[in-house]
C-alpha cells in the first residue's frame, strides 16, 4: 500500500477525544478516523494504536471486519445501493448490475478517477420507498432502472 500524507494534527485531534490506554474506544476512534479521512490510513491507525495501547493487528482486524471502514480513499460521490429485502424484491440487483456496468467497477470499489465509489448496503431502513439508492447520504426512493444512470452520466 502506498503511503499517503495524513495530517498529524487532524489525527491528534481525534485521539484527544479518547483517554490514552483505553482499548475499548478502538472502534469509536476508528469511526472518527474514517469520517475525517474518508478511510483508515495506516499512519492514523498507528498513531491511534500507540495512543490506546492496542496492538496494530487488532486495529487492522477491526478495520477489515466492520463494513463501516475502508482501507482505501473513497470517491467524491459515494453511491450506496440498498440491497435490503424490500429493495431486493423491488429490483435492487438490477440497479447494482446497471451501475457496475456504467461505472465499470465492482461493488465496494472506487473508479480510477476517484469520482465514484459504488457500495451496497444491507438495508438503510427506508424500505417503504424501495428500491433506495443514496448519493453521498442523500436518499433517493423508488429508483427504476435507467434513472440512476442518467444521474450518474450527468455527473460524469
Amino acid at each position: 500500500m502506498t503511503k499517503t500524507c495524513v495530517d498529524p494534527k487532524k489525527a491528534r485531534k481525534i485521539l484527544d477525544r479518547y483517554p490514552s490506554g483505553d482499548g475499548t474506544s478502538l472502534i469509536h476512534a476508528l469511526q472518527d478516523i474514517q469520517a475525517e479521512f474518508g478511510y483508515v490510513p495506516c499512519e492514523a491507525a498507528e498513531l491511534l494504536c500507540e495512543h490506546l495501547s492496542v496492538p496494530i493487528s487488532k486495529a487492522f482486524s477491526a478495520a477489515t471486519f466492520y463494513k463501516a471502514f475502508s482501507l482505501e480513499p473513497k470517491g467524491d460521490v459515494v453511491i450506496r445501493v440498498c440491497t435490503g429485502t424490500a429493495c431486493h424484491i423491488r429490483g435492487a440487483q438490477t440497479l447494482v448490475d446497471e451501475l457496475c456496468s456504467i461505472l465499470n467497477v465492482a461493488p465496494g470499489k472506487t473508479t480510477k478517477d476517484l469520482k465514484f465509489t459504488l457500495e451496497t448496503v444491507n438495508c438503510v431502513g427506508a424500505c417503504a420507498m424501495a428500491p433506495v439508492v443514496s448519493l453521498n447520504g442523500e436518499y433517493h426512493g423508488n429508483v427504476q432502472p435507467g434513472t440512476m444512470s442518467k444521474k450518474i452520466r450527468g455527473g460524469k
Partner: protein, 269 residues
C-alpha cells in the same frame, strides 16, 4: 485448584470423576477417549472454531433434551451424560472435513484427516483461490499468548484470512516463528540461513550460539524473551543443542567426581 469440587459424569457409558472447571475434552483426553480437534492446543485458550470436537450431551434432569456442544469449551457438570460418537456426530465431522477439503484441497494434513472419514475428494465446489489455511487461528492465538499480537485475522466470513496489519511486515513480530511451528497445515513459511530468518516479510538478524556458533534465535526475539524473563540476554544465547550437551556434561562430570557442580575439583578414584 486442589479445592475444586469433584464432578461425576458419564462419557460413552463409562463413569468418571473430575475437577469442576474442566472441559469435557480435557476429561475425555485424560481417560484416553479420542475426540478429534483441529483448532485446539493444550497451551492455548479454546475457541470452538473447527467444531470437530462436537459431542452429544444430555442429563437425567433435562427431560430427554439432548444437543451437540463443542467439548473443548463445555464445562463439565454433575450428572452430565456425554456421547462422543454417533451417526449424527460422524456425519457432522465428515461434512466439516469435506467442507475444509473444498477450501484447502492441497493441504496434506486435511487430506489425511478426510481420508479417515472415507473422503478422497470433496463433494463441494473447490475454492478458486488456493489456500492451505484452515483458519484454525492457532497462529494468532499463540502470537497473542506470547505477548506479541503481531498477526491477526482480517476480513470476515468466507473472505476471512490471517494477515499482517496493513499488509506490511508486522512491527510487533519478533521472528520467533511460533506461528509457523503451531500451524497444522504448514501454511506459514519461514526460512533460516546462518545469519538471517525471513518471516512475514521481515529479515531478522540471528544471534549465534556462544558455544557452537550456530544460529539460536533472532536478535529481536532474544531482547523480547530476556525482557520478559527479567534476565540478562547473555543467559539465553546458547543454542538448545549446546545447552543440552552442557547439562549432560555437567551431570556426567558430577558422577565422575562425586562432587556437586561448582564444588572443589577432586581427583577421581
Amino acid at each position: 485448584m486442589t479445592n475444586n469440587k469433584t464432578i461425576n459424569l458419564e462419557i460413552d457409558g463409562r463413569f468418571f470423576q473430575a475437577d469442576e472447571g474442566m472441559t469435557i475434552l480435557e476429561v475425555a483426553r485424560r481417560e484416553g477417549i479420542e475426540i478429534p480437534t483441529l483448532c485446539q492446543h493444550d497451551a492455548l485458550e479454546p475457541v470452538g472454531a473447527c467444531r470437530l470436537c462436537l459431542v452429544e450431551i444430555t442429563h437425567p434432569n433435562w427431560k430427554g433434551w439432548k444437543g451437540l456442544v463443542t467439548s473443548c469449551l463445555y464445562p463439565i457438570e454433575e450428572g452430565l451424560q456425554v456421547t462422543t460418537n454417533n451417526p449424527e456426530i460422524h456425519t457432522a465431522r465428515k461434512t466439516l472435513l469435506d467442507l475444509l477439503l473444498a477450501r484447502c484441497p492441497e493441504a496434506t494434513y486435511i487430506q489425511k484427516c478426510a481420508a479417515e472419514y472415507g473422503i478422497t475428494a470433496t463433494s463441494f465446489k473447490k475454492r478458486e483461490e488456493e489456500t492451505t489455511c484452515i483458519l484454525c487461528g492457532l497462529c494468532v492465538r499463540v502470537c497473542a499468548a506470547k505477548g506479541c499480537n503481531a498477526i491477526g485475522a482480517t476480513g470476515r466470513g468466507i473472505t476471512k484470512g490471517i494477515a499482517v496489519p496493513f499488509r506490511q511486515p508486522p512491527p510487533d513480530c519478533i521472528g520467533c516463528a511460533s506461528c509457523a511451528h503451531i500451524c497444522p497445515t504448514d501454511t506459514i513459511k519461514y526460512t533460516d540461513t546462518e545469519d538471517l530468518r525471513k518471516i512475514w516479510g521481515h529479515k531478522f538478524k540471528m544471534v549465534k550460539c556462544v558455544s557452537c556458533g550456530r544460529p539460536v534465535m533472532p536478535e529481536k526475539q532474544l531482547e523480547f524473551e530476556a525482557a520478559k524473563a527479567g534476565l540478562d540476554a547473555k543467559y539465553l544465547t546458547t543454542c538448545p543443542q549446546c545447552s543440552q550437551d552442557q547439562t549432560l556434561a555437567t551431570v556426567q562430570s558430577s558422577f565422575q567426581s562425586k562432587t556437586v557442580p561448582g564444588g572443589s575439583l577432586e581427583v577421581a578414584r
